[in-house]
Amino acid sequence: MKDAILRLDGVHTHIGQYHILHGIDLVVPRGQLTMLLGRNGAGKTTTLRTIMGLWQASKGHVHFDGRDITKLSTPDIAQAGIAYVPENMGIFADLTVRENMILAARNGEIDPKRLKWIFGLFPALEKFWSLAAGTLSGGQKQMLAIARAIVEPRELLLIDEPTKGLAPAIIMNMIQAFRELKSTGATILLVEQNFMAARLLGDSVAVMDDGRVVHRGAMAELAEDTTLQQKLLGLSMDAHQ
């Protein structure tokens, strides 16, 4: 197995009086796309938010690139090299597409070569470059959120349900973009409900249920084993068509 860029050891998270994560153990290998799957309410988003420090782990440790980041603040974690694309298109609606992108560039400037590559992945962004991000369609907003995360090379991308609520054609565009992103050697932890997308993209997989990781392994193995899918995710055979 490749070396791990991110490791969660027995992470517990409480939100108010609710105990959401019950000792998560998770490893994200460097240079791979790891899928984080699970039913609604399994704790996937909480896991990403805990990694980012948006919610503090009440117990356990988060190690990133060999460094304990459990108690770091969110800006410190972001500056350490983790980019986060939250659920529901985490864009700034009042700012233009350009301003959204520049915000994510740490020195305030975007490398023109990288921008050209991003426009290749998401052509709509070039077209609407000077428009307010709030005026974009749902798919375009999601593209912008992902583009913002990759505006500079980052050690790890955390992406929460990028295909949620998108039309099938847009989902295929998104999958293609992730494939290209993978080909550059990016490390990605991707939360996804769409099993078809997960099967096409994932190298490894972790499945969560009730705040725990209940399965870890290669994505290809889970994709082949329909009984396991049924057991872990409650997927019917129709979901694979």
Binding site: T74, G90, A93, L95
Partner: protein
């Protein structure tokens, strides 16, 4: 327009983006620039000076409320610090430029230190708590200003002399220019006008800088801004300090104009409400809104009563029943309130927002 265009550079690339708005802004700018010649007399000049000061005060508040999403009730406190800085310095030392500079400097340092302290201690908490804390601090400051009789003049405030060149008796030329004698009062007006213009353009530069973009991102979603690596508390504190500094300078300008500083003219909660109304009327999150909001509100405050009196007289002379009473000059506050409710109803995004929407 091209980025190397001088207008682009002066406006920091932030164009009005509406023909009607551009026309309105040019009318306000030209009227204020030539106010002593276009509208002779002390009352119009007083209104014009007040507009200049309030444009800065409202713009500085919009930097907090409209651009950063912070609700503060301590804005008049900073405005008051500016006023009292000038008052105390001019009252206690010789009324020269040195004393004025010292007063301004001391006021700026105190205001920005207070803003930093309030920011660092309370900008971590939820917005409503920050608003409450600023309200408490501002109230405490107002009480302090009233109680420290020896220093501030208490409830009576302080009247003082200003540098000779700015006094009404000073004459710059022996002969009138365009029919107007250029005296110290007019020089004070132009000092206020140009200071306000420069401060406004600096504020435009701030909100259109990378720093300003981060403030807007924080206003929209502070968690997302943090996830991009921005320390929200630091940015909010800097915005709070900048806004306080601008409000302090507005207080300085008003103190120079009035040659008097007291609790009612600087620290009153009514001024805080006026600032809020001007921001809402002009439009939040756009500095041009401060120009239109302040101009309309101050014109209404100063002339609505007179206009209503004349209108009521006309209705009475025409023998129309009931209406003369309704439009009596004493009811001007009622009509100002109605105007405000209507403007919020019809222009929820403010006048600037509405004009830009009409354009698109």
């Amino acid at each position: 327009m091209l980025p190397n265009n001088p207008i682009h550079s002066i406006l920091s690339g932030d164009y009005p983006r509406s023909k009607a708005l551009s026309v309105a802004l040019v009318i306000v700018l030209v009227s204020l620039a030539f106010a002593p010649f276009l509208f002779p007399g002390s009352q119009p000049l007083n209104v014009a000076a007040k507009i200049c000061v309030f444009v800065i005060l409202v713009a500085s508040y919009d930097l907090l409320l409209g651009y950063t999403g912070i609700v503060s009730f301590a804005h008049t406190m900073f405005y008051g610090i500016g006023g009292y800085g000038v008052a105390i310095a001019m009252y206690n030392f010789n009324a020269g430029w040195g004393a004025l500079g010292l007063g301004v400097l001391a006021a700026l340092v105190l205001a920005m230190l207070l803003a930093l302290l309030i920011g660092l201690f309370s900008l971590r908490v939820r917005a409503i708590f920050f608003a409450m804390i600023t309200l408490a601090v501002a109230s405490a400051f107002a009480i302090l200003a009233s109680q420290l009789n020896e220093i501030t003049g208490g409830e009576d405030g302080r009247s003082y002399r200003i540098p000779e060149m700015l006094r009404p008796a000073f004459r710059l030329f022996d002969e009138p220019v365009l029919g107007v004698m250029i005296n110290g009062r007019i020089l004070t007006y132009y000092l206020i006008f140009f200071a306000a213009l420069i401060l406004f353009l600096l504020a435009l530069r701030v909100v259109n800088s990378p720093f300003g973009r981060v403030l807007q991102a924080i206003r929209e979603n502070d968690f997302r801004a943090e996830a991009l690596g921005y320390r929200v508390v630091v940015y909010r504190s800097i915005a709070n300090c900048l806004s306080a500094g601008m409000a302090t300078l507005a207080g300085v300008l008003m103190a120079l104009w009035l040659r008097y500083t007291g609790p009612d003219t600087t620290l009153s909660f009514a001024i805080m409400i006026d600032i809020l109304l001007m921001v809402v009327i002009g439009g939040m999150g756009t500095l041009y809104g401060a120009v239109l909001g302040a101009t309309i509100f101050i014109l209404a405050q100063n002339y609505l009563q007179v206009l209503m009196g004349q209108f009521s007289g006309m209705l009475e002379a025409a023998g129309i029943p009931l209406l003369p009473g309704l439009f009596h000059a004493d009811r001007w506050l009622l009509w100002l309130g109605i105007l405000f409710v209507l403007s919020v109803y019809f222009f929820p995004v403010g006048i600037v927002g509405k004009l830009r929407q009409m354009k698109s």
